[in-house]
């Protein structure tokens, strides 16, 4: 038996390390070196903290017109109203805080729904061949080509009745979630085509593994990295769609969101420019944050850029 095996000729590695770094740990190490990615993450974390704890310090409840009674409507920014007030006396600062909570919830929850649907449909479409795969591809393509924004507008009108039962924000979440998945499905399906042909899948089959085990234990985990990147970008997209929805006047009434503030602000932009300005800046900053985060993740998780 040969004593000089390749592991003995290789340079000695550190022996005391017990468990090896997972791919996630490696990716995190790479992510930390990417300045814009870290900046994006910092922005996102700041907004999450702001959304969770901000309402504790919000001077007024959401959509409160209290200031109107105090003769404070349409005031420019001041110490009392840091972002000013709008024509009905709503404190822009308070509603921006409540809006952060609603917008993040819309962005994240709708993305979660879209990602789960996208993952399931894309995985099945990618793994099954023949008729089932074809039908699933047809479904994905159908949802991909229909004008989503128009449908969203339609649905938000049709189901407006739910809004009065306190379903306002979650209606938006559901609509965005149920229509936002085809992009993710397409990517998953393509990635699964790639991974499915790799030799370790064949090796698993040769060991007697069943189809479901191969799909969910070996294929899906290997296509998750683009999903993470896409999901982070989709959060930004969903927040923008929310703004558009409210801007066009299709948002549920009496819900504090940035889109609602911007819509009100634009109507009186020449008189009270601060009403649209501050929530607009918040939207831009948060969307930028998610985009930077997504780009950073894309680089960190790219296996071809391994150090």
């Amino acid at each position: 038996m040969s004593q000089l095996t390749e592991e003995q000729t290789a340079p000695p590695k550190r022996v005391h390390r017990q468990r090896s770094a997972t791919q996630w740990a490696v990716a995190w190490r790479r992510f930390k070196r990417n300045k814009s990615g870290v900046a994006g993450l910092a922005i996102v974390i700041a907004f999450v903290v702001f959304a969770i704890f901000g309402p504790l310090f919000a001077p007024y409840p959401p959509r409160s017109t209290e200031s109107l009674l105090q003769g404070q409507a349409g005031q420019p920014p001041s110490w009392k109203h840091p972002f000013g007030t709008e024509i009905n006396g709503i404190d822009v600062f308070s509603d921006s805080i409540w809006g952060a909570r609603n917008d993040l919830w819309i962005g994240v929850a709708a993305t979660a729904i879209a990602t789960l649907i996208g993952l399931a449909v894309g995985a099945l479409a990618g793994y099954s061949r023949g008729v089932i795969g074809g039908i699933l591809l047809g479904i994905i393509q159908f949802f991909f080509v229909i004008p989503t924004l128009l449908l969203i507008l339609l649905f938000s009108r049709v189901f407006q009745v739910l809004v009065y039962q306190g379903f306002g924000v979650n209606l938006i979440v559901l609509i965005l979630g149920l229509f936002g998945w085809p992009g993710i499905s397409f990517v998953i399906r393509g990635e699964i085509f790639r991974v499915r042909e790799l030799e370790f899948i064949q090796a698993e089959k040769a060991l007697g593994a069943g189809n479901l085990r191969i799909l969910f234990r070996h294929i899906v985990p290997n296509v998750l990295t683009p999903v993470i990147v896409l999901a982070s970008l989709l959060v930004a997209g969903n927040i923008l769609t929310e703004v558009v929805l409210f801007f066009l006047g299709f948002g549920p009434a009496n819900v504090a969101t940035w889109g609602e503030l911007i819509e009100e602000g634009v109507q009186y932009v020449s008189v009270y420019p601060w009403v649209a300005l501050f929530p607009g800046l918040l939207v831009v900053t948060l969307v930028l944050g998610f985009n930077l985060l997504g780009d950073g993740l894309a680089d960190a998780l790219n296996p071809r850029l391994r150090e």
């Binding site: 095996t5 592991e7 370790f200 090796a203």
Partner: protein, 331 residues
């Protein structure tokens, strides 16, 4: 040599790939018999149908490939009529396979240990996780991996190609199969590691009491490792014999050409490659498929498919002219 009984008998196997460009007849009537305990070589150029034969036996031919004909019997069981669920139980436990590329034959997301445990417990949940762990560690020492306890917790990307192939071998042996297909197990390793892995496989074959089918295009490995050989060309068998006979008394021009293409240290001679290319398997040549490349081809070779004839006991050839040609083997 005492006669061994057949473990695997493949008769007239046909596996076609239904692509958009046409039907690729990757395996078009291959017959093979592998005897209990032997090392059988399956040799031929890339694309000759060696690997597809192995995948067909395990019934894991990737789509759009499909087994369209033939018979495969393994240890008395007809594998082609087995239900998929029963076939799944044969894979890994009775017949296992080691693949060509160790880099991609392990899932990058799981540790070596996890993958071994999964292999040990596949379709066999009676083994507890603790037992499986101990078995995995001993498998690692069986394939001569140093510090098995540490390797157990490592990910594939932390290991060298040679180590990965050892682990792939360990995984294939997890449930002590009776038949092991090794599909070009050393092609992607460098030469020194190749020798180690081949020696390891020899030892393991003996210790685990296995039958080995070694798929390769390397006649050197065939000479070193096997006792009988089947030479395949363009999806069909051209010659089959005991390794010694095949090397010294080849009767098929393709075998002769392969032997001439082997580099020799002891004779300074221009290396001869087999002229031409492997034929298009969508529209293979008429008659003998080797005739466009064969230096001895005559008219009948273009017109008639040669029969698979017995030269002597255990020596078969598919060539119209084997009786009249005196081919040169290894000298």
């Amino acid at each position: 040599m005492k006669a061994l009984e057949d473990l695997l008998k493949v008769e007239d196997l046909r596996t076609y790939f239904f692509t958009e460009a046409g039907v690729v007849k990757a395996v078009d009537g291959i017959s093979l018999d592998v005897r209990k305990g032997e090392s059988h070589g399956l040799v031929g150029e890339s694309g000759s149908g060696k690997s597809v034969t192995a995948l067909s036996v395990m019934r894991i031919v990737p789509k759009p490939g499909k087994i369209v004909g033939g018979k495969i019997s393994f240890d008395g069981t007809d594998l082609l009529t087995l239900k998929e669920d029963d076939m799944r139980r044969v894979r890994g436990s009775k017949i296992a396979m080691v693949f060509q590329d160790p880099i991609s034959s392990l899932d990058p997301l799981y540790t070596v240990g996890k993958q071994l445990i999964e292999a040990i417990r596949a379709n066999n949940e009676t083994v507890s996780k603790e037992q499986a762990r101990d078995m995995a560690i001993s498998l690692l020492s069986n394939v001569e991996i140093s510090e098995p306890e540490r390797r157990f917790n490592q990910y594939p990307h932390e290991l060298s190609g040679g180590m990965k192939q050892r682990i792939a071998i360990a995984r294939a042996l997890a449930r002590t199969p009776t038949l092991l297909f090794a599909d070009e197990p050393t092609t992607n390793l460098d030469v020194t590691i190749q020798a180690q892995v081949l020696n390891l496989m020899k030892d393991l074959k003996k210790n685990f009491n296995m039958t080995l089918v070694l798929i390769t295009h390397d006649m050197g490995i065939i000479a070193e490792m096997t006792s009988r050989v089947t030479v395949v060309y363009a999806g069909q068998v051209s010659e089959s014999a005991e390794t010694h006979t095949l090397f010294y008394h080849p009767t098929h021009p393709y075998t002769e050409a392969l032997l001439k293409a082997v580099p020799r240290l002891d004779k300074r001679k221009q290396l001869q490659s087999v002229g031409g290319n492997i034929p298009n398997l969508i529209d293979p040549p008429t008659g003998c498929r080797f005739h466009p490349r064969c230096p001895y081809a005559i008219q009948i070779c273009k017109e008639k498919v040669p029969d698979y004839e017995e030269v002597e006991t255990d020596h078969f050839v598919a060539c119209h002219r084997w009786k009249e040609l005196s081919l040169v083997g290894v000298q």
